[in-house]
């Protein structure tokens, strides 16, 4: 086994930054295009996403700084701030330089965006509306950019065949959106706990589909779609590894039978993180989708689902970050 230059801090950083960015994008999208005019129908959903987004992005970025050599081995106080050098230049060929600037913007924008939702009485059409709308427009591309960047960061190097594929940014983007949505689900389930019974009763008695609160349904259907895309991404990653030459085949072997990351990848990422949530979500969304029935999912199930998706996302980052470093070019 080769040494890991990048360990847990980077894994956590990729996961959290992706999740925060995903939450920002999901929140901004439902706000802008959620139906019922700007920010009407799914305002609460957007609010949870907005309040969540900056926290993982900021914590994740802090983890990134923790693993910098100048931070770990600092001999003088100024070295703790050496990372600011990222912002004294822009290196157009370096994905990390792009990422630093995009993350910087993402943190600022998501903090201000969260601020527009901060007041308890925040509502569609209040005095923050125009700022909120502007930041939502910024948030969709910015969140996507962060998700994509986390994949490009790893994918940029021919020296790391496991990472050096064009599908990795897509995979990380999809995972960041689905973990973002899962984060929103958890917040929503925890903070709207009191009125679940009430809400479910309202759902049952609602005369037409139009009167139902479809936020949960929307979240779950989006999740399902994202998990499906994730399966597609992983399928293509593996398929194309076998269509490439030597070092790519060698690299993918670590997640295939006999490889050191086989169990974690297939049981952790695929079964626990993707298949189990997908099957449960299918069971609950299909009746609404096909027969227009009310969408009701028990809160505990909703919570465990989201937790599985989050764990799956974290394990995906772990497997990818480690696999890329224990494999390398074939031959000399």
């Amino acid at each position: 086994m080769q040494e890991l230059t990048w360990g847990w801090p980077i894994i956590i950083y990729l996961f959290l930054a992706g999740m925060g960015a995903g939450a920002y994008t999901v929140s901004a999208s439902v706000l802008l295009r959620g139906g019922g005019g700007f920010g009407r129908k799914h305002f609460q959903l957007a609010r949870y996403g907005a309040l969540l987004a900056p926290i993982p992005i900021i914590i994740g970025t802090a983890f990134l700084i923790l693993e910098l050599g100048t931070f770990m081995y600092a001999t003088e106080a100024s070295m703790y701030f050496r990372w600011l050098n990222l912002f004294t230049t822009f290196e157009v060929l370096s994905p990390m330089s792009w990422g630093a600037w995009i993350l910087g913007l993402g943190i600022i924008a998501s903090v201000v965006y969260a601020y527009t939702f901060l007041k308890k009485e925040a509502a569609p059409g209040d005095e923050m509306s125009s700022l909120r709308r502007a930041l939502a427009w910024v948030g969709v591309p910015l969140g996507i950019a962060i998700g994509v960047y986390t994949g490009v960061l790893l994918g940029a190097m021919p020296s790391r065949p496991f990472w050096n594929t064009s599908i990795l940014p897509f995979l990380f983007l999809v995972s960041s959106l689905s973990t973002g949505a899962a984060g929103i689900t958890i917040l929503k389930a925890v903070f709207s706990s009191g009125d679940v019974e009430e809400k479910n009763a309202a759902m049952q008695t609602a005369k037409s589909a139009g009167e139902r609160d479809l936020s949960d349904y929307l979240l779950n259907v989006s999740d399902l779609l994202l998990l499906g895309l994730e399966v597609l991404g992983i399928f293509l990653l593996i398929l194309f590894a076998y269509m490439m030459y030597g070092d790519r085949v060698d690299a993918i072997a670590v997640i295939m039978p006999g490889g050191s990351l086989f169990s974690l990848f297939w049981w952790g990422v695929i079964v626990l993180g993707v298949l189990v949530p997908s099957v449960i979500e299918l069971k609950y969304t299909v009746p609404t989708l096909l027969h227009g029935r009310a969408f009701i999912m028990p809160r505990n199930l909703e919570l465990s689902l989201a937790t599985f998706i989050l764990l799956g996302g974290l394990m995906l980052r772990y497997v990818v970050v480690v696999a890329g470093q224990i494999t390398g070019p074939v031959g000399i």
């Binding site: 086994m1 080769q2 040494e3 230059t5 990048w6 693993e67 910098l68 050599g69 100048t70 931070f71 770990m72 081995y73 600092a74 001999t75 070295m79 050496r82 990372w83 050098n85 990222l86 004294t88 230049t89 290196e91 060929l93 370096s94 994905p95 990390m96 330089s97 990422g99 630093a100 940029a156 190097m157 021919p158 020296s159 790391r160 060698d250 890329g324 470093q325 390398g328 070019p329 074939v330 031959g331 000399i332």
Partner: protein, 248 residues
């Protein structure tokens, strides 16, 4: 009216001045860029004649001393390649160092510009007080030439002994090599020893498929890897003589 027209001429003159400046920049810029890349005045490179190497590690030791490289790390090292089953066997040595690539991935990925290729001589170096120690270049180098120096917290690697070379000396490893297995010089100078050796020998570079265009050339290098053992149905053993027991 008068003042108005003078203002006009003034502004036109200013405009012309700016325009002229822009034109000259436009004219000179491509020229400087071109001279930095294609017409690089000195192009340092190294040839390692593995037939002359006896695997004594004098180069590794000289390098260690020259740079006080921390314990467990190496800027320069010698791998042993053993293969075959008695009586058909071969043992050879593969000295390793940074290749000072023409297209270095380490430079491309560096987010701060700390790792750069010196335009005037092609050496790839690191500016210690700009580097943040992110490790990106360590990941990107296909040769495992880089490491994170725990004493400085920054990336580190061979720099062809820039401090010696700029004084007209050869790198410390070249200086110490008892078999004269290492030849260092400017391949832009057709009369240099290295140019003559390169012109008259079959040479190879390591992992050319990585596209980095290495500037360390080998004569008679054994490119055998542990994975080849199965393919050739023989015995292969690689000793890296580094902390990293497996070749990276």
């Amino acid at each position: 009216m008068a003042s108005d027209s003078s203002k006009k001429t003034l502004s036109r003159r200013q405009f012309l001045k700016v325009g002229a400046a822009a034109a000259t920049t436009a004219a000179t810029l491509p020229a400087t860029v071109a001279s930095a890349t294609t017409k690089q005045s000195i192009h340092y490179a190294m040839v390692i004649d593995t037939r002359r190497c006896i695997g004594c590690h004098a180069c590794s030791v000289a390098c260690k001393t020259e740079f006080e490289v921390p314990l467990g790390e190496s800027r320069s090292w010698v791998e042993y390649v053993e293969k075959g089953i008695f009586p058909n066997v071969r043992r050879s040595f593969l000295p390793r160092l940074c290749n000072h690539c023409d297209e270095p991935d380490c430079v491309d990925v560096c987010p701060t510009g700390a790792t750069y290729k010196i335009a005037s001589n092609g050496i790839v170096d690191i500016t210690k007080d700009i580097c943040i120690g992110c490790g990106y270049c360590i990941q990107a180098c296909p040769y495992g030439a880089r490491f994170l120096n725990p004493e400085t917290g920054t990336a580190d690697k061979c720099n062809f002994c820039l401090h010696r070379v700029s004084e007209g000396l050869v790198p410390s490893c070249v200086n110490t090599c008892q078999g004269r297995a290492r030849i260092f010089g400017d391949i832009n100078d057709p009369d240099s020893e290295i140019s003559r050796v390169l012109a008259t020998n079959a040479v190879s570079v390591l992992r050319p498929e990585m596209g980095t265009k290495p500037n360390v050339f080998y004569i008679d290098a054994d490119h055998t890897d542990e994975r080849d053992a199965e393919r050739y149905n023989t015995y292969v053993r690689i000793d890296t003589h580094r902390r990293q027991k497996r070749r990276v």
